[in-house]
Symmetry: C2
Subunit: 317 residues, 2 copies
Amino acid sequence: MTPAMVREAAHRIKPLTKRTPVLTSRGADSLAGASVFFKCENFQRGGSFKIRGASNLILSLDRSQLERGVVAFSSGNHAQATAIAARHVGTQATIVMPLDAPRSKVAATRDFGATIVTYDRLREDREQIAAGILAATGATLVPPYDHELIIAGQGTCALELLEETGPLDALVVCLGGGGLCSGSAVIAHDLYPSLPIFGVEPERANDWHLSMQAGHRAEIGPPDTIADGLRSPIPGRLTFPILQHQLEKVVLVTEEEIRRAMSFLLGRMKILVEPSGAVAAAALLSGKIPRTFARIGVILSGGNVDLKLLADGMLIS
Amino acid sequence: MTPAMVREAAHRIKPLTKRTPVLTSRGADSLAGASVFFKCENFQRGGSFKIRGASNLILSLDRSQLERGVVAFSSGNHAQATAIAARHVGTQATIVMPLDAPRSKVAATRDFGATIVTYDRLREDREQIAAGILAATGATLVPPYDHELIIAGQGTCALELLEETGPLDALVVCLGGGGLCSGSAVIAHDLYPSLPIFGVEPERANDWHLSMQAGHRAEIGPPDTIADGLRSPIPGRLTFPILQHQLEKVVLVTEEEIRRAMSFLLGRMKILVEPSGAVAAAALLSGKIPRTFARIGVILSGGNVDLKLLADGMLIS
């Protein structure tokens, strides 16, 4: 994974992605004691940064690969992103989703023209199902994070942010599989080699924290957190060694801190950010990033929230 | 009211206001059958466009006027805007608010350093109270819309929008007292003399609709609508004649159309817009703007929503 790959990705994915705005807020600055720059990937196509990686991979396929289609397994943002990118290039996307995936996300993915294959999470193995489809069709797998083209695509998010803000003193990014964070680290450190990068994950999904302490990829039990996009139980095979060297620190946030950050972003900044998308902001707003930085970049990674949950008061503190 | 006054205002209010972003959405474009440009005043300082007019007036005061302070009566966005602008120039703001104003708005206004004077809506006359304060202190009244400097300040919103988008085929703006809409019309027609401008108000607060039909300012009973910022019962004395000549049409929207627009803006575009701020979008998204325009500008005028109401499911359809 090289910085050049991120720059190539930035060029490649332009027709399929938005250059999302960078917002600022006096209220956030005063809470953080710093100038904070929020990169709003909740406004991205498909509602999250995931379109960056998926489109970088899919736009790199040759004609014979495109004829055989693409496959992804995801119940969330990566599914929609893969479906959107596949439709753009006219290839067939098959998305393997659990039977109990949110109906709204299944419907959105189907609306983008994808074929949905469902499976029973308790009885069936999704990797086996995907392997069967791949073997039968010769389709290309679009993994959610562990692929150089995916990581490079996600890195374009930090590239755009830094192009807009210029030098920063710290960058704060969420940690799920690690695609967004590792791509961002690679390009950010190419531009500013000593920039401290903080990776943030829920206390209840602390696989990165434990893995960094252990010095190797550690797996945890199925995480139970409202940040549904950060529930992967183990760091990625490619992303872990990148971040092992490039991350300043893993910061953990509580469920309540995530809800409070969502409420701040919604009530004060008027933007809807999903729980996973709000963890980086949660770390900053709850005082868990050292107060020694004057200019801090924060990636708000997505905004796909079920409005029913919001109207039920589940996500606001 | 001249276009030059709007341009002067744009220069004057720069230190106190944000240049808010213009957002686009494929989903909105496809619903509207047009390219739609949303001017996001929900991201403005104080959460609405009101800071534009208030700061234009307050920054025009001379030293002796500033020493005597400013007065406004408002239970909502204009109160906060006046308090912010007053603090910026170091003058004392006195805000006359009803006893039953939302606590969060009273607290926010007090936080900006304003003195709050409360009154009983059923027994006391707020104009009389304000007149008493003005007589006793020699302070300057900052009216919510019926003042040339207020109208010129609000017009900077459309100026910024048109600077960013270039020529549009239609502009859609909410109608309360008419300050935002008339200021926008004056500058928009200076730039593009034949641009059709649609003013939108709730069916339940149809004073502009009735006044336009009657050919004179008609007063209605106290409007009962979730769009609390558009409850003024009669068009402004200055704003009515401006819009009588410059408005293409008054469009009426139902409470349900307002809620559906809020839900679309939140669920699809990830932005929180208050009911009053969503009426212009409601007219467009519910098909009430003629489908003959290729490029349409819509002003989202504010985003101050009580999150408790949102969490109670009151505002989402």
